[in-house]
């Protein structure tokens, strides 16, 4: 008994230490850096300033924010459109386990490697163009790589599992009797989907959307590799400030801004949970 409590204490201490040292501290450093001035040699100069936050609202950077939100929203919409039917299928299929494994398998490979695989598909002498040329559908190879379309494809492809899994969890829990009751009361398929299925699975939709939307803002290698670095998104901006421009304070300010935004979205998620499922949200466990 005594041993176990010792073990418990040790584990809790270790985890707390881990969180403090590797999560809280670095984040605090980022917040601190965002209020300091840039220094050529030491990265930051210990002089307080709000300039970095002012710069976030510079029209140039604001355009990047807007474009990033556009891309992230489009990614989320496409992932939802592709993910919802698939998750429904998954929840009802006899081959559920196999299909789930198929959804998860891509995680076994680094997403960077998978992005390179997409390059292999899309490039001028890539698989898609070779097929199109061989079948005579096109005469000249299409410009697929280094386009906005390629970026969108890459984002949706990379993030789709994050949409499917929460949707699956929500749809699987859906009581089939609810839909049957709808049909019994004379509702059409669409009416049941709209008035019964969607509202009940809304927490899954919101969770999936957040899990897709937020990383879509931050993934920098997809626009770099598939878009030819021509369309800059928020993640690229931050990476660029730290690695290329060496303007750590501004990079930190953008990171803090993004974090706050994510916080806001999560708050929205809980608010929606509370609204649509008051019992659940009322008793946190």
């Amino acid at each position: 008994m005594k041993d176990r409590s010792l073990f418990k204490t040790a584990v809790i201490a270790l985890v707390s230490l881990w969180i403090v040292a590797l999560v809280c501290l670095p984040n605090l450093l980022v917040v601190a850096a965002s209020f300091l001035e840039r220094d050529e040699f030491r990265f930051v100069r210990p002089a307080l300033t709000l300039d970095n936050y002012r710069q976030v609202f510079d029209p140039v950077f604001f355009a990047i924010f807007m474009r990033s939100f556009g891309f992230a929203a489009a990614t989320t919409a496409l992932a939802l459109a592709a993910g919802y039917p698939f998750a429904t299928l998954l929840a009802r299929s006899r081959f559920r386990r196999t299909l789930l494994v198929l959804v998860v398998i891509p995680f076994w490979t680094s997403s960077l490697v998978r992005t390179y695989a997409l390059i292999g598909l899309l490039k001028a002498k890539g698989i898609v163009n070779s097929l199109l040329l061989a079948t005579g559908l096109v005469r000249e190879p299409l410009s697929l790589l280094y386009t906005d379309g390629a970026v969108l494809l890459g984002l949706v492809y990379t993030l789709l599992p994050f949409m499917i899994l929460p949707l699956y969890a929500a749809i699987e829990k859906l009581d089939p009797q609810l839909s049957e009751a709808g049909y019994d009361l004379g509702a059409s398929r669409w009416q049941v989907l709209w008035h019964v299925t969607l509202p009940v699975t809304l927490p899954g939709i919101v969770a999936g959307s957040i899990l897709v939307f937020l990383p879509a803002l931050g993934i920098f290698y997809v626009p770099d590799l598939l878009g030819g670095a021509k369309s800059m998104l928020l993640g690229n901006l931050i990476k660029n400030q730290f690695l290329t421009a060496r303007h750590w304070p501004f990079g930190s300010a953008v990171s803090v801004f993004l974090t706050l935004l994510m916080g806001l979205l999560l708050w929205g998620y809980y608010a929606s949970l509370k609204r649509f499922n008051p019992d659940l949200a009322g008793t946190p466990r």
Binding site: R38, E40, F41, V60, F61, A63, I64, R67, I119, K123, A124, K125, S143, L145, Y146, D224, L225, G228, A229, K230, M232, N236, L237, N240, Q241, T244, A245, R246, H247
Partner: protein, 354 residues
């Protein structure tokens, strides 16, 4: 048991001490490839000095030497444009005694440029070693006319152009516009104005770009596949492609290729200063410099070394650089602190533009 451990430790200690006492050593802080084994062996035979290289890059070199205030290494190899501001601020190097350097084996213009660019309080801090340039790789069959940086903004090559969104591109574009950005280095206001013009040019030319490359191999792949005809890049890549496809080659731009030079500098608290000068003179001796160039394909500041290189390697240089091209090279001057911030903002604007 404990006895054995102690004995082992003592043995190791004795061996380590003996090892350092046996021969003179030279701690070299350098780039990967800059100290080939063959030359280290030859140097040891000639002088009895064992060279111990540590491989790194500019930023780490500066960081390491700053941390120790210039101790721990006998010789370092930072790029020439990264020396003077660091030296002025932190004093991590000692002045070069050019009397101990065999100037007759060094290309004079390069030595003078490096002396000038590393001048701090009337003393110079570096000797040139390896150089290369930012120039163009051109598919001559597809883009026969491309010969200058301005062709990266030539509508004729729409959708077939590639460059990096990095400071060399801003500077190259300015040269392509007939301006001399280096002349404005010490006038931040004028430099800012020029960079804004450059930025606008690049924004206007954005629709011509196939890809802003970041990875050298990916660029070569795009050129191989015929997606890109004109690119701004380093000579090694162009020569590699020329081997595979004679239509593609490195071209020194008309307005002058932009040259970087990696140097030799002696850290402030170097222990083996005499050995450092020996290695400098040894590496710049033409026959040794030729060995280096054959392996790494980079040319050196060693006068005439290129004549001693393998014909294939030599052919690359002679094909891409005439003497006039070499004379026209714009060597990067030391970067004043303020400029990188200006450039960063311009680059962000270009990236953010549609």
């Amino acid at each position: 048991m404990r006895n054995t451990t102690i004995r082992c430790l003592a043995l190791v200690l004795v061996l380590a001490l003996a090892g350092s006492a046996w021969g003179e050593t030279l701690e070299l802080l350098t780039w990967k490839g800059y100290a080939p084994d063959a030359l280290i062996a030859k140097f040891a035979k000639e002088t009895g000095i064992t060279v111990k290289p540590t491989y790194t890059n500019n930023e780490e070199m500066i960081a390491k030497l700053r941390a120790t205030r210039g101790a721990g290494f006998d010789l370092a190899q930072p790029s020439q444009d990264r020396i003077s501001s660091v030296q002025a601020e932190f004093g991590i190097y000692q002045p070069i005694d050019y009397g101990k350097v065999q100037a007759d084996q060094i290309t004079a213009s390069m030595l003078e440029a490096v002396k000038k660019n590393t001048l701090v309080d009337g003393k110079s801090y570096a000797v040139p070693h390896v150089y290369g340039t930012d120039g163009l790789i051109v598919n001559r069959k597809q883009a026969p006319g491309a010969a200058d940086y301005s062709d990266l903004l030539n509508p004729q090559f729409k959708g077939r152009v590639s460059y990096r969104l990095k400071r060399p591109t801003l500077i190259a574009t300015a040269f392509g516009m007939g301006k001399d950005p280096f002349a404005l280095y010490n006038d931040p206001a004028a430099y800012q104005k020029l960079m804004e013009e450059v930025g606008q040019k690049l924004i206007d030319g954005k629709s011509l770009v196939k890809v802003y490359w970041a990875n050298g191999d990916a660029l070569l792949e795009s050129m191989r596949a015929g997606e890109v005809f004109v690119a701004m890049a380093w000579e090694n890549g162009g020569w590699k492609l020329h081997n595979e496809n004679p239509d593609i080659d490195f071209v020194a731009p008309k307005s002058g290729a932009m040259g970087w030079i990696d140097t030799f500098t002696i850290p402030a608290k170097a222990k083996n200063v005499a050995g450092a000068y020996k290695w400098i003179n040894f590496m710049l001796r033409p026959e040794n410099a030729a060995v280096f160039t054959n392996i790494e394909k980079y040319d050196t500041a060693s006068k005439g070394a290129i004549k001693l290189c393998d014909p294939a390697v030599r052919a690359n240089f002679e094909r891409s650089f005439t003497q006039a091209d070499i004379d026209k090279i714009n060597w990067y001057p030391p970067v004043p602190a303020k400029l990188e911030e200006i450039e960063g903002l311009i680059l962000d604007k270009v990236k953010a533009a549609q």
